[in-house]
Symmetry: C2
Subunit: 383 residues, 2 copies
Amino acid sequence: MSLPEDTSLPNHFELLATDGAARTGRLTTPHGVVRTPAFMPVGTAGAMKGIHWREVRDAGADIVLGNTYHLMLRPGAERIAALGGLQRFTGWGGPMLTDSGGFQVMSLSELRKLTENAVTFRSHIDGTKIELSPERAIEVQRLLGSDIAMQLDECVRLPAGRDDIERAMQLSLRWAARCRRAFETAPAGYMLFGIVQGGDVPSLRETSVRGLVEIGFHGYAIGGLAVGEPQAVMLAMIEATAPVLPADRPRYLMGVGTPDDLLESVKRGIDMFDCVLPTRNGRHGVAFTRFGPVNLRNARHADDPRPLDEESPWPAARSYSRAYLHHLVKAGETLGAMLLSEINIAYYQQLMAGMRGAIAAGTFAQFYAETRANWSRGDIAAR
Amino acid sequence: MSLPEDTSLPNHFELLATDGAARTGRLTTPHGVVRTPAFMPVGTAGAMKGIHWREVRDAGADIVLGNTYHLMLRPGAERIAALGGLQRFTGWGGPMLTDSGGFQVMSLSELRKLTENAVTFRSHIDGTKIELSPERAIEVQRLLGSDIAMQLDECVRLPAGRDDIERAMQLSLRWAARCRRAFETAPAGYMLFGIVQGGDVPSLRETSVRGLVEIGFHGYAIGGLAVGEPQAVMLAMIEATAPVLPADRPRYLMGVGTPDDLLESVKRGIDMFDCVLPTRNGRHGVAFTRFGPVNLRNARHADDPRPLDEESPWPAARSYSRAYLHHLVKAGETLGAMLLSEINIAYYQQLMAGMRGAIAAGTFAQFYAETRANWSRGDIAAR
């Protein structure tokens, strides 16, 4: 089933070990090395919500994601280029991946119009009419200085009819080819990923992979998932896609997910993830721990002097009491969102580090079972 | 003019040097030493808005202020006591001063009723009817574990008629005596400050001081200022009050102020301050620097790669570009408020440290002139 290796673009990914379908490796970017499997925290508009960059680094993140749609509207790609690129502008300094902007155009902007050539939309900030073609999506990402740029694609929300899914997948393939051409002059070391589409139809997913590999990319993303479908559908699509992707190239599952999603997807051969869940849940009073999610709004924590997890490697998770975190959340104090967001980012990174170590040691099955057992056990009993 | 020294309560303040009317010293509390003149950042409900406690400490703050009104309503004083007191509950660990709750009762709560015995009000959170007497104000602050408790007083908003000012001042004196009695059983090392009232009437201020000194406190606050009057009125009231306060006790000007207010008040003999201005202005896009306030919303910063102040001792003030801070503020990113709040707290602490050093060296007049000259010079020119 496996296709011939794509040799048309240099490979910056080194596969270090596999354990079943699970993989661990290192991806070398112009701004540093990314250990995989990697979770990329999302710094939408050039900032993580409620977290300092040094905390993102300290938590163990090697790479973060920026949203092209937000950044091109404000402060503008040309401005960021003049200020030295996104890594320098933000002060993060490390590797950054940017999406193409297409997904947010579909979800956030008004009056969008999709043609063979481009998607046209009005800015949700000031109503300006903007055209985003595959060529412009690449130009913008090169102005931003992204270590990893993504092709422009069309993402269909599920459930959708097969015809619509196929049409969008084929358009995405044609746009993939245009993005690849637009990226030809990019400096060495910078990468472009193609995006597999095909909704929940395995045969369309496979067609998409074949088309993308023929064009040739530095890495491959699986798009069009985490858009409302059940987890089982998502996992089935990974199973239909991962085995036909070139084994030597990084695989990125876009917009995923819960800790459970990460564990299941790594098990099926995924190397990279991004999601707003850890920070969004943090802002809503939910912490992720070894023992699953903990809702700090719950009154059971009001008088509890114990930390979220006394064995956590992350200081805030083992030093602040549940009573204090509960109070901050109830009082709407910014510090509550700040602490829970960093605690969640740290837990996600801890989970990725655990998976990397287990795959390298050939003990992924054991790690998987222990992690699941802890989640099933649930949070410590109330006092 | 100076009154006999009050010897009825142990003195934890050591006056190290004076320069004109300006003073520098050290106040020893159960949770650590406070270098004066000191600026106390305000952690209203047990948290600084948008700043981690370690940043408050790193910025140079020795002591922070908590609001009794907020804390008694949520999470509750008895709960905080059971959790080990405010310093432990919050994780701050260092010295904390709490106000009496009276000021916020007047400004935030509904259906308040003032009698000789107490002020009764409804919680702005859930409408619960609560009575705050001088005795309860002390009980609550002792439950919180405040290093420095404040007497309950009545603060009149200016302008006000002389009769009203005098009535409130006399009531505050009677409440001062009741607070002093309620504090008798407090453990050694904990402190109670009396509050000078008397509005903008110098003779009433002096009467208030005499009454308070007769009762005897660990320190003395000047209240009822920074309530809408011009700076000149405030400074005149300090000049009428400071000289008659016991020279060996700390003097705290409540709710003040701008960097300019701090410089002028220290010059007139004030040792301690608190104000929400550095964090509130930070949340509104205004940074304080050596060269005065800088409004980061201004479009002049949009393409400016320079930091706020390349010579600042505070990393965020010399590393992030004005362009990035401008972007964060315009985009409403939490990180913008976080960075500007810590930058402002750090600038305030830098100003206090500068004054302490200058007073100790006998060069306060020079420091005063240089600081003013920098402020007058204004921000660096736009590019």
